[in-house]
Amino acid sequence: MIIGNYKSNYNSDESFFGDWPNKFAFILLCLLLVLIPFISSGYVIFLFTQVAVFIIAIVGLNILTGYTGLVSLGHGALVGVGAYATAILQSQFNLDFYINIPLSIFITSLVGVFFGLPSLRIRGLYLTISTLAASFIIIFILRNWNSLTGGDSGLILDPIEIFGIKIISENNKYFFIVPLAILSILFAQNLFRTRIGRAFIAIRDADLSAEIIGVNIVKFKLMAFGLGAAYAGLAGSLWAYNFLAILPSQFELHLSILFLAALVVGGSAQTLGPVFGAFFVVIIPELLKWAMGFLTPLNPTIMEYTAPANSFVYGILIIVFMIFEPMGIASIWSRFWNYVGRWPFSP
């Protein structure tokens, strides 16, 4: 009789996906992801690709904020660093994407570590403010270093070319970016089964205690910043290849806040939190728009009222989640599959 999700041996404890319902859900999700380009319009595929880019960025933020407890308001700007690094490497050095993307990740990671240095002296709200300052500095540089970044006009990229195929159609971009998002999630999932990941969690829970038991705080805090920024770098790079044009205004503070909101709504410190969070911030506004669209035939100018109503409903939804599900959507997901796994003995 199954009465709980107990692990009775080391193999099950170390298993990547957990019990069968989780495996089943993962396979179902993968199948769905493969099917989407064949059953959806270009616009829907574009949205899913955007979700994938957001997932990568939010997974990075999850490592930094969710697992290590270092709240950052500069993550959007770091995504900008990744995007600009990619565009600049392509336009100035004519590098191909397979060099461009890893280099962009590396550059963003370095920038992340640099702006993470204050975390060695300050924490909590003060650290958050320092990341906010970092965001302003980065955006200022992007907007004013005209000769390198194109200033406010931004930069335009050439599409990726793999074996003569240009990654320019929505389908091609989808099949290029979505697998990378899945790999990013799996890497993060695995990270927290290692010594490094556990050190991050120890720092979040009680950094002094962690230091007492031998965790090198300096090293692991900077590593968290570096890793989080590396994810932001990858997301930025893919963002640039997805849009093929970038502007500094895309990476301003609102993007960092959006990522943070997505992480909280999706579920902080949970592997699937960024996935649900990204879906929430990208897809829900579109669904609201679509739903409100049914009112347009009643009065063509009704959008004047429904557009602000969308923002209002979206805000209310975030508040409702904060109140009724503070652990995020990932927690509902996990409870659901636990229920399925224990059925018919579920409570």
């Binding site: 319009s41 270009g42 616009y43 829907v44 574009f46 949205l47 955007q50 200033g151 406010d152 006009s153 931004g154 335009i156 990229l157 599409p159 320019i168 159609s169 929505e170 849009f243 093929l244 044009a245 502007l247 205004s249 895309q250 579109e286 728009k289 063509p300 100018t301 959008m303 004047e304 557009a307 602000p308 969308n310 923002s311």
Partner: protein, 405 residues
């Protein structure tokens, strides 16, 4: 013996393939591409910083569509308007664009709502071409080589500065300041303006950059006082900052004459400021490429639209349509003309042919929107006129002829 018709999997696939082939190759492409109506899609900033202008623009645009459809549409087909809110976020406008372009009824024209969007959409237009205009007057867009499908329905910001500088020169101005917002929109013509002023023998004594909203007015006034220019051009603002700067300068007893560019030349804003804070905008002047709506006597197009709005709304119609809405309507008038020219030339209505028709617009009588016949050069129309605001009657009145650059 009569062969029995038996639909099995193989025959079904074979017949389907044959039917698809017949449709794909057997029907001339021009017939397949023939739409039932002209889809004209656009993004409007219905939320965000320019929500007021966006809502006004949407309402007037839909009225313009209704009026155009009531008189037969374009080349005998009605316009189907498709629109979405962008919140003035370029990425959202791009998402709206992709949504419109992946719909079954593809648009023949897309109206963008920001310079940012016009930049972001450039690579996308190479993949899914469509004629694209909008609210941007960015100088960078007036280049058919780099932006083949985009056009500006007026002068570029560079041309607007040229017109203002010519006006200043004609008035004997020697010392000039540029006050502009820290945005792409604000910075666009500054470099060009400095070199043009130099060539005209005008000294640019100050380049003051401000926030686009909530600027530290007194700090900027201090800089302005130190520079003490005869003229100051305010650029990169829509509803705010420019009136506060003029107000601050007048409080500081400065005699500097202020000039603005199109987006800072709206009567509704000037009237509201005058009503709230007094008549300090008296004499504020600036360049606009379009006549004001109250100049309907010289603009038959405005007269028609006025009559339509009067019949639709009766006494509720205040008798004025904002310059923001006029700009949107004029953009659609150009798209309409390009479609008509393409249909009349018996060509397929696609982006390439529409651009050809657009580039062939020469000496077109715009029905009074603009003072001189309209010719599209480098996907822009380089003409405008300087108007000055009179607080006693709340009107911007012309103080120059129509100037081409």
């Amino acid at each position: 013996m009569k062969k029995k018709f038996n639909l099995n999997r193989r025959s079904f696939l074979k017949n389907s393939a044959a039917l698809t082939g017949a449709f794909a190759f057997g029907v001339p492409s021009i017939i397949r591409a023939e739409p039932k109506s002209w889809v004209m899609a656009s993004s409007f900033p219905l939320t965000g910083p320019f929500a007021a202008a966006g809502s006004m623009g949407l309402k007037d645009y839909l009225d313009w569509v209704e009026m155009t459809n009531s008189t037969g549409g374009i080349a005998g087909k009605k316009i189907k308007p498709v629109y979405d809110d962008s919140a003035y976020v370029p990425s959202k406008s791009l998402a709206n664009f992709k949504k419109a372009m992946s719909a079954d009824d593809k648009p023949v024209f897309y109206g963008g709502d920001s310079t940012g969007f016009m930049k972001l959409v450039t690579p996308e237009l190479n993949r899914t071409p469509v004629l694209c205009g909008g609210t941007s007057f960015s100088s960078e867009l007036a280049d058919p080589k780099t932006h083949p499908y985009q056009f500006i329905s007026g002068p570029t910001y560079n041309s607007m500065f040229d017109i203002l500088l010519q006006h200043i020169k004609s008035k004997g101005g020697k010392k000039l300041a540029f006050i502009y917002s820290d945005t792409e929109f604000g910075k666009d013509p500054i470099e060009h303006g400095v070199s043009k002023a130099k060539s005209l023998g005008i000294d640019v004594v100050l380049k003051e950059i401000t926030k686009p909203a909530g600027a530290e007015i007194m700090t900027h006034i201090s800089s302005l006082r130190r520079a003490d220019p005869e003229y100051a051009i305010l650029h990169g603002y829509v509803t705010g900052v420019w009136p506060q700067i003029i107000g601050g300068a007048r409080k500081a007893k400065m005699s500097t004459k202020f000039l603005g560019t199109f987006w800072g030349m709206e009567k509704i804003i000037a009237d509201a400021v005058t009503k709230q804070s007094g008549p300090f905008l008296e004499g504020y002047a600036g360049v606009t490429p379009y006549r004001y709506f109250y100049e309907a006597k010289e603009a038959p197009s405005y007269g028609k639209f006025f009559a339509f709005l009067k019949s639709k709304y009766g006494d509720e119609f205040p008798g004025y349509v904002s310059t923001w809405s006029v700009q949107i309507m004029f953009t659609y008038e150009i798209a309409k003309l390009a479609i008509e020219k393409t249909v009349n030339a018996d060509k397929e209505v696609n982006a390439k042919n529409l651009v050809e028709s657009l580039e062939a617009i020469k000496n077109w009588d715009s029905g009074g929107y603009m003072g001189k016949p309209v010719s599209i050069e480098n996907h822009a129309i380089a003409q405008g006129r300087v108007y000055s605001y009179k607080t006693s009657n709340g009107l911007f009145l012309p103080i120059s002829d129509w100037i081409t650059t």
